[in-house]
Symmetry: C2
Subunit: 239 residues, 2 copies
């Protein structure tokens, strides 16, 4: 937690918050703050700044906050991800939030096992919790939006073309001929398949919708590694 | 396991291997092979190719192998990493192996907790197992070398200067002024700190040894995310 993310319900006045639960525990056990100390804070979807601890107990911390800095710029990226295996899903969410991905679409694919969609990590609260951890790691405040689409074909045929409009559209597909471009001057949509990849039918449908198939070289990377590699390659500016 | 990595002890003849244990279980339960099927194989530190399953039982699989392809090129990178927290260490090892890092130095730093060095994941066998998983993921055969240095100052003063000779040397340091370069034409040494970063004293020592402090932008990334972002940024060629 390099920044404590503040939600509306934390505010007791326009410049005052009370923290409990995970954030309080972190203040006590990791940062080991005491009254008078300052920590980095940010209001969800708003400004960042500092919070001064004015009172601290076992059950809550009270801080006065000054929010006068902008969060880092968002990545100009729409990320379309085949639903990952539950045991990596939380990390993928946190990684995406840390990297500045603000628009995440979780879609079905032939090699996405049906059980993946049953994971409790897909609940509204779990999504919010894990995205919060990613934002707090990266010192960002802007909550990513997550869209869940459990049917591949309707998504690709009916929704994807509008998402691609005016953007560079790519599907990461190991073994294809075109290398992934670098330093895009424009916003992009990037589709990343499941373990084992999209099927040829699926790549065909993504190409029909307007995506170009590109590869990252000979190495096959796990999604949690491929996403940072792709993001870093596509966007030249430091994150 | 996108490739089964073969070790000397697996070979019963120059073109024949017997697989047991984890790799056998994977053949049975994930790939679901049967006699006559072909899978990707590679000999550790050697060539890659295909293996044809000629016999399969509950206790072993026998394959004839044809090894006629080169593994992907190594990254021209020496990675110097402050010892990560044990719970992320295995993933970091696997990620480094997948990305093609071949030379990994695990070093101490003020913010590396002493207990991190006690992890059983640092045993020879655990290192080998996790690096193998990373190579098998990426379809590579060349085993990375891991060097363990539990004292910061002797490493930085006595060993690091020789490692840097003729290479671009960088230390990733959030908050510094120079952005991380892109597309290096040369081999590089990259130092990455622990959670919370290197101390100013440590950055000073790394700079004295010849490293340039560079940043990745405003976002603070976990080491398992920072490493793929940095590698992808430093080396233009697809991996």
């Amino acid at each position: 937690m390099n920044l404590a993310l503040l939600f509306d319900e934390d505010f007791t006045a326009s410049d005052r918050v009370k923290l409990t639960g995970r954030r309080l525990a972190h203040l006590h056990s990791v940062i080991k703050v005491k009254a008078g100390d300052q920590i980095a804070v940010g209001r969800v979807d708003g400004a960042m700044g500092t919070g001064e601890v004015i009172r601290l107990s076992d059950t809550e911390a009270e801080l006065t906050v000054t929010l006068d800095q902008s969060p880092p710029p968002p990545l100009p990226l729409t990320l379309v991800l085949a639903m990952p295996r539950p045991k990596m899903f939380r990390r993928v969410l946190q990684t995406c939030a840390s990297l500045g991905v603000k628009d995440l679409w979780l879609i079905n694919s032939y090699k996405v096992e049906k059980s993946f969609w049953q994971t409790p990590w897909l609940s509204e609260q779990s999504l919010l919790d894990n995205l919060t951890l990613g934002l707090e790691q990266a010192k960002d405040t802007v909550m990513p939006r997550v869209h869940i689409r459990k049917l591949f074909k309707p998504f690709v045929e009916d929704e994807l073309p509008a998402l691609l409009a005016g953007k560079r559209a790519l599907v990461a597909h190991p073994g294809t001929e075109v290398p992934c471009p670098t330093h895009l001057p424009e916003a992009a949509v990037l589709c990343v398949g499941p373990e084992g990849g999209f099927t040829p039918y699926e790549v065909g449908k993504l190409e029909e919708a307007g995506c170009q198939a590109v590869h990252l070289g000979r190495r096959i990377l796990r999604v949690e590694t491929a996403v940072p590699v792709l993001v870093s390659r596509l966007f030249d500016a430091c994150l």
